[in-house]
């Protein structure tokens, strides 16, 4: 629509007699009601399944069989399911495996990805556009396309049954998005800063460590957070390389966990899922704004 007609129309609406203020207040209150209902509905839809999960994890087997599933647990301090899941269900060691695969991969992604982003965006060289495009192509490649050769390679290198395949593969699959995001963040840093540093005699390594790195420190943290979620929640790669072995990650373990306990024993299954959810929840409580910003910035990955 054109602005001139809007302006003309607004002038005519000002000329008309205004509504009385009491009617407006009433209308505002009535208008608030649906908003309250919507908030309530949204919260129920989002939060209730999680509360149901939490309550379920505190129930005994007989409660599951005799009470309706929405009933509250009879004893809120019944943590037997957690003990059983953590110990007999191996959830404790699954989580340790996940951590041992996630954090080394995360460290390498950040170190290599930030350096590559710096080289691609701040430094001047021939072919950097092509290399950036090469990295971008990696965002789109489905994991299925690289699994089989990697499985062959790891098998022949004797790495199957260790965490190395996971660490290496996560590092490589995390790099494209990291390089892309870091290049974007470095683009926002004024080039003059690096040029001035160069004129003042700083070497490029000094520029990177004392200027570039500190200026994108916040962005690095955001990217690390995004990559953490991708790696921690991954199923495909973990399933391919650790299924059936002693180094299963929490996601693979949880999947086989239900195969083992699921149909017969509800409590430990609920507790195991709950452990997986609560860890993420704690992280989210403290860092939610950053997580939301980071994940939407990484939406290219789909």
């Amino acid at each position: 629509m054109s602005l001139s007609t809007a302006a003309a129309a607004s002038r005519s609406s000002i000329l008309q007699p205004d509504n009385s203020s009491s009617r407006r207040r009433l209308r505002r209150n009535v208008r608030k009601l649906p908003a309250v209902l919507i908030i309530g509905l949204l919260l129920v839809i989002t939060v209730y399944p999680l509360i149901w999960l939490l309550l379920g994890s505190l129930k005994t087997q007989s409660e599951f069989l005799n009470n309706p599933s929405w009933a509250l647990p009879e004893n809120f301090l019944n943590f037997d399911n957690y003990v059983q899941a953590w110990g007999d269900g191996n959830v404790g060691s699954f989580i340790l495996n996940s951590a041992l695969a996630t954090f080394p991969a995360l460290a390498m992604i950040i170190v290599f990805g930030v350096a590559a982003g710096f080289a691609l965006e701040v430094m001047v060289w021939k072919g950097r556009g092509t290399v950036l495009l090469l990295f971008l192509a990696g965002i789109m490649v489905p994991g299925q396309m690289i699994l089989l050769p990697l499985f062959t390679a790891y098998f022949q290198a004797g790495l199957t049954g260790t965490l190395w395949p996971l660490i290496i593969t996560y590092t490589a699959t995390g790099l494209p998005l990291t390089v892309f995001m870091m290049a974007t963040y470095f683009r926002a840093v004024p080039r003059e800063i690096f040029e001035a540093a160069a004129i003042d005699g700083a070497s490029i390594y000094r520029s990177f460590l004392s200027i570039g790195f500190p200026m994108v420190r916040n962005a690095i943290f955001t990217v690390a957070l995004v990559q953490f979620f991708f790696i921690w929640n991954d199923l495909l790669i973990a399933l391919t390389f650790t299924s059936g072995s002693t180094v299963q990650t929490i996601q693979v373990g949880l999947l086989s966990f239900t195969g083992q306990f699921g149909v017969v024993e509800f409590g430990p299954t609920f507790a195991a899922i709950c452990i997986n959810v609560v860890g993420i929840l704690v992280l989210y409580v403290f860092l939610n704004q950053r997580v939301m910003k980071g994940l939407t910035a990484g939406a290219v990955k789909g």
Partner: protein, 294 residues
């Protein structure tokens, strides 16, 4: 100065490790995987050269057709669902809840960061029928309807997958679109309101056309992600009942690891990659500006 910012050895030091790992673990395997399409067998049984057999087999395999149809159906329905629900939420955030929406936005986003496996198992329990009724069937019974065996037939199993994935991702798309809606200049909205536009007319006449770019990029992100659906289907229905909810990704996984046929698995993976490539080319054609904004 140029000798510092253009130092070739430093470029190599900075980009070398990333490029090396990326090439060795992603680029080479992609080419290697393409090579596999001309063979059959696996690393354990050994490979035999079969020429183009895998391709002729793929084009006449009813299971590939079924998986392809499922993948496309899932991608289209989920994309439309995610965008519609997300857009609805974003509109509610901006125009209804306004400043109070912060807590709601944060809470509704939360399922997006949860592990897919955990969410899938939770939904399995919620939609359970045997040995115990889950939450959903209890609600149905409460209203006098009989229990439904959700995972017993293809249609209802598909419905559960869609409901779950929309539940998981609606908060995410809401934020993505919310950011786009905030970019609409306040004075345009104000003048439209003074003009008498409100509610549906305001959305249709002003907001929708102005948020078209962000809608388009969300649409493409969503298609690109949903084509690769794997986790949620594997953990929720395991492709069943039968193979009715098996997407290409899962069929490829089964072919390679359950039946030990790497060649045919790679051929299916190549088909999937081609589809994703087409979508990605479309991304760069239509929304390059939004992409580089990060």
């Amino acid at each position: 100065m140029n000798s510092v910012l253009g130092d070739r050895r430093a470029v190599l030091v900075f980009i070398g490790p990333a490029l090396l790992i990326y090439s060795a673990i992603m680029l080479v395997p992609v080419l290697w995987s393409m090579g596999y399409t001309f063979f059959s067998g696996s690393v354990i049984t050994g490979f035999t050269f079969t020429g183009l057999d895998n391709f002729t087999r793929m084009f006449s395999d009813p299971k590939v057709a079924e998986a392809l149809v499922f993948t496309l159906k899932y991608a289209v329905i989920l994309t439309v669902g995610q965008i519609l629900v997300g857009y609805g939420l974003a509109l509610i955030y901006v125009f209804w809840l306004k400043k109070a929406s912060s807590l709601v936005r944060t809470l509704v986003f939360f399922p997006a960061v949860l592990p897919t496996v955990a969410v899938s198992l939770l939904f399995q329990k919620m939609f359970e029928v045997a040995p115990q009724n889950g939450l959903v069937n209890e609600v149905l019974n409460f209203f006098g309807a009989p229990s439904v065996d959700w995972f017993g037939s293809a249609g209802t199993a598909f419905l559960v997958i869609v409901i779950m994935d929309i539940w998981r991702s609606m908060g995410f798309y809401a934020i993505l679109l919310y950011a786009g809606l905030l970019d609409i200049p306040e004075d345009i909205l104000e003048s439209a309101r003074l003009d008498g536009a409100s509610g549906w007319t305001l959305i249709k006449g002003i907001i929708l056309p102005l948020s078209l770019p962000v809608l388009l990029s969300s649409l493409i992100f969503s298609i690109n992600g949903t084509l690769k659906v794997f986790d949620s289907v594997l953990a929720l229905t395991n492709g069943g009942p039968g193979s009715t909810t098996t997407p290409l990704t899962l069929y490829m996984f089964r072919t390679a690891f359950s039946y030990g046929d790497y060649g045919y698995g790679s051929t299916i993976a190549l088909l999937l990659t081609m589809i994703c490539l087409l979508v990605t080319v479309f991304i760069f054609r239509s929304s390059r500006r939004d992409l580089t904004k990060g």
